[in-house]
């Protein structure tokens, strides 16, 4: 579904991505883990076309996405920080994005819109919303067009426990439907619940890319956080 080969990107001297080659299939849910500045966000941004890689290839559904834009209709993106124009109403944000990419779509996925009861605050201006409510809007937008790939950047940060549970259930449901899901988070328990594989980056390089089950059996640990801690302690292989 998604394939990167020797993907590299530097910002000045900093190598944000260094020869990253990974392959991801539909039905996989991949955790992107790594310290701050390890290249997680840069990888996501390359996929979304926000950052243009220096070299390497990136293909989605077998087609190169570099320099193109139409492929993005297969991707739903939930950013880490959702900031919207101050005076735009919640309903207008939905209308706007629908006008941009909803042409020709018969079915919209409004599960989250219903679960979060967006209709109740649709008339409010974006600037009056709390951070968590804005995150709900971002989440609804990411799932709205039933995309085949979901990119979630720190999805549960700022959401209240109930909203966070709703989102996690939705992610799991989409995974079951055979979507490819990429999640970054610092909350390892969330990642353990949601994802099947771990892509661990340090200084832009892939340290390992394995399924969570493999990780656990390799380290003999029951929990993802302990397995990771163990790997980080005993030299990364």
């Amino acid at each position: 579904m998604l394939q990167s080969s020797n993907l590299s990107k530097s910002f000045g001297k900093l190598k944000a991505l260094d020869q990253v080659s990974v392959q991801m299939q539909a039905g996989q849910a991949v955790s992107l883990i790594g310290p701050n500045g390890s290249g997680k966000t840069t990888f996501i941004k390359c996929l979304l076309g926000l950052v243009i890689p220096d070299s390497g290839a990136l293909t989605l559904r077998g087609q190169s996405i570099l320099g193109t834009w139409d492929y993005r209709r297969h991707i739903g993106y939930m950013p880490q920080i959702g900031r919207y124009p101050d005076h735009m109403k919640v309903g207008q944000v939905f209308d706007m994005i629908r006008e941009i990419r909803g042409a020709g779509m018969k079915h919209f996925d409004d599960d989250l819109i219903k679960a979060y009861e967006v209709d109740k605050f649709a008339h409010k201006a974006m600037r009056t919303l709390s951070g968590g409510t804005r995150q709900k809007v971002s989440a609804c937008l990411a799932f709205l067009f039933d995309p085949e790939v979901l990119v979630l950047d720190e999805p549960t940060a700022g959401l209240d426990p109930l909203a966070s549970e709703i989102l996690k259930e939705k992610v799991l449901a989409e995974k079951e439907k055979g979507k490819l899901i990429l999640v970054t988070s610092h909350i390892l328990s969330d990642l353990e619940e949601l994802t099947t594989d771990v892509l661990y980056l340090i200084d832009g390089q892939v340290q390992f890319y394995q399924s969570i089950a493999q990780l656990k059996s390799r380290t003999g640990e029951e929990k993802l956080n302990r397995a990771l801690a163990r790997i980080m302690r005993n030299d990364l292989q």
Binding site: R72, I75, G82, H87, M88, D95, M96, I100
Partner: protein, 255 residues
Amino acid sequence: MFRIVKYVLYDILQNRMVIGYTLFLLAVSLGLFNLSGEATKGMVSLLNIILIVTPLVSIIFSTIHFYNATEFIELLAAQPIRRSILIWSEFLGLAGALSLAVMIGIGIPVALFAPNATGITLMLMAIALSVSFVAIALLASVLTRDKARGIGVALMLWFYFALLYDALVLFLMFSFADYPLEKVMLAFIALNPIDLARVVVLLQMDISALMGYTGALYREFLGTGWGITFATLVLTAWILIPILLAVRVFRKKDL
């Protein structure tokens, strides 16, 4: 593209700064026309204020707006849409909103007190300057990553065009006073949209005789149909060149 412009425009028109700016222009224009009794006198005072204020507000507001919209622009850039459409929409939204502010704030008083060619020229020049400085602001914004630095660059650019440039030209004129500089001066004027707008309006006012020999030369050149075409073309270039460059940079920019 206009699908997006609609929403950008709607958002900006509700902004307090834009509403305040419109009211300020309206108050100043009405005040000056009323105080000076004679329309031409009011027009000269108004011209001087407009040449300072419209570029300043346009460049600062556009820069702040662009940086505040960084995250939203990022979200839109991740949608199936061309980057160039995004930046054009931002430009048209900003230019549209600030032009509307000028049309209301200056257009209404002009229609009431000086509904003649000079008044219309004044308003058109204010609109052209606004749009041009929106384009310059966007170019400066896509070239600088940091918000504080971006606003700093915007202020410097305004300072240069509104104040510094004239001082430099004066300095040159005095340094080379022994040479015939009139033709060179025409070129200098074209290199600053604010100066060009000023000369075009002054020539409409029939007071260019007060501007000495250079004024006569301007009259001879810019007063004719060809000169008006020239001024229009140069002002259009002052809009198109910065915005086309901004689009070019933005298309390849890492967000």
